[in-house]
């Protein structure tokens, strides 16, 4: 293998580039990323960076003296993959031929139709998004967050700490019911009301009102919520449209085996754009969390370098954390598989819990709120070999 190209220059792409060098690849390495920034860390964008506690240099994922011997093509977007020629086409007309390709294009924030061009309406995915939102939060006022998922909840928490008047609107009856199940979704989202943030559930958003700048969020039940600022946190879609017709099978992102291999030999996918087969779940899962984007490139790169001739290991169960209202929330495993959830330590009312999700008596997931020690023990058990 003489050239490997990594598409996407964020956590998964950087981790893949690092794995390549660590696993002995010494050929040409090209990293293509459509943002102009060097790889940076996204989690602080909704937390310490948004609050002003961390600055831009603190976000860097690379260490100061790090040199991967890679050619960085930043500000360049891949728009096509030519399987016959094994070449990537970039927006600026350049072509990059490569023997091995790592797809790490992540996901992009979904927007609300009709909100384009209206000032005061934000999504939060990139550094540029976070800069713009941070500047506006500094002006204070009334913030309406559309979507009670993790990003929405973190923005609400940060904005509340900055003194804004905050309302969260969630279409589902309980926020976070997807990732955490209904009972625990209610416990975690109870943090909003504990901290004086209004939480409106079970009501959809009809649209936004305002001339040049948003002034209200219109709900489907006819209510209108006055707003100086709106954050749309309604999830993210994998950035894979550019792969249509390339021969890479797409299905909720890039469809991959348990080792990151795609339907094309010599092409692997990692991070938020990849829908990996999860042997524990017996199904494909696209995991949009930091730790997977950081860890799985090791396996995908091993597959790429071995030409697919390695046995895929069983990845650790998906894990994520979230920080809201000063509470450390941690979750590992798959809540959807559980038939019971029990609080094993702490108390739900105190927002200090360790809850274990079980299926037929076996632990399949664990949730911790301010319980890092116990959480780690349970996570370790979940991660024990099948």
């Amino acid at each position: 293998m003489r050239t490997v190209a990594v598409v996407g220059a964020s956590l998964a792409g950087l981790s893949a580039a690092r794995s390549l060098r660590k696993q002995g690849y010494d050929g040409r390495l090209v990293v293509i990323g459509d943002e102009t920034h060097r790889p940076y860390d996204r989690p602080p964008l909704s937390k310490e960076f948004l609050s002003g506690a961390l600055g831009e240099t603190d976000l860097a994922l690379e260490t100061e003296d790090e040199d991967l011997g890679a050619q960085w093509m930043l500000g360049a977007r891949a728009v096509g993959l030519d399987r016959a020629e094994r070449a990537l086409a970039l927006t600026d007309g350049r072509r990059v031929r490569a023997d091995g390709i790592v797809l790490a294009t992540g996901a992009a924030a979904r927007t609300l139709p009709g909100s384009e061009g209206l000032a005061g309406v934000h999504t939060l995915r990139t550094l540029d998004d976070a800069r713009a939102l941070r500047d506006e939060l500094a002006g204070g006022g009334r913030l309406v967050v559309i979507g009670g998922g993790f990003i929405g909840a973190e923005v609400a928490s940060t904005a509340r700490a900055l003194g804004l008047d905050v309302t969260v609107v969630e279409a589902a009856p309980t926020p976070l019911a997807g990732p955490l199940g209904r009972a625990m979704g209610a416990v975690v989202s109870g943090l909003h009301t504990d901290h004086g943030v209004r939480l409106l559930c079970g009501v959809g958003v009809k649209g936004l009102s305002g001339e040049r700048r948003v002034d209200a969020v219109l709900l489907e039940d006819g209510r209108s919520l006055p707003a100086d600022l709106v954050v749309v946190g309604v999830g993210a879609s994998p950035c894979v449209d550019w792969l249509q017709g390339s021969g890479v099978t797409l299905d909720n992102g890039v469809k991959c085996g348990a080792d990151g291999r795609t339907s094309l030999a010599g092409v692997v996918a990692v991070g938020d754009c990849a829908n990996w087969y999860d042997p524990r779940a017996g199904a494909h899962r696209r995991v949009e969390h930091w730790t997977g984007a950081r860890e799985r490139p090791d396996a995908a790169v091993a597959t790429l370098l071995a030409g697919g001739a390695v046995e895929p290991g069983v990845p650790r169960p998906p894990y994520f954390w979230s920080d809201q209202y000063g509470v450390k929330i941690q979750f590992a495993g798959h809540a959807a598989e559980a038939d019971s959830v029990t609080v094993e330590a702490g108390a739900a009312d105190d927002r200090d819990v360790l809850a274990v999700y079980r299926r037929a008596g076996h632990a399949v997931a664990v949730l911790g709120m301010n319980q890092p020690r116990l959480f780690t023990r349970w996570r370790k058990q979940l991660g024990a070999p099948l």
Binding site: P43, T291, P372, R373, T376
Partner: protein, 120 residues
């Protein structure tokens, strides 16, 4: 400074003991029976490495999974970027002693601000 930490018999293999010095230090007893001491606070954020995932001679931070080598203090990958300090340990008459390093600790920004009396 040399301080008595705990009795080795009270620290099962695979477990850690947090010493309440400032900044805190943790003593790890590995599955192979070795004993190590490192700064307890992760260099990324305010997490206790004694709460982490001990495997071989490495401990994974309980929050964001950067892994520190107990022998050298070195960290493997982000989000943490700086190593932790290591401290000399020895066992005498069943008692674990730690000789605190005199090097400057690599504390995360939020913790060093607090120690300096600034905002938490």
């Amino acid at each position: 400074m040399m301080i008595p930490a705990c009795r080795l018999a009270d620290l099962p293999r695979g477990e850690a003991f947090r010493l309440d010095v400032d900044p805190p230090v943790s003593v790890f007893h590995t599955d192979d029976g070795e004993v190590f001491a490192i700064d307890d606070t992760c260099t990324h954020q305010d997490a206790s490495l004694a709460d982490g995932w001990l495997e071989g001679c490495e401990v994974e931070c309980p929050l964001h999974a950067s892994t520190f080598d107990l022998r050298t203090g070195a960290v493997d990958s982000p989000p943490a970027k700086l190593p932790v300090r290591t401290h000399e340990v020895f066992v005498e008459d069943g008692m674990v002693y730690v000789r605190l390093s005199t090097a400057a600790p690599n504390l995360p920004p939020c913790v060093s601000a607090r120690l300096a009396g600034g905002p938490a």
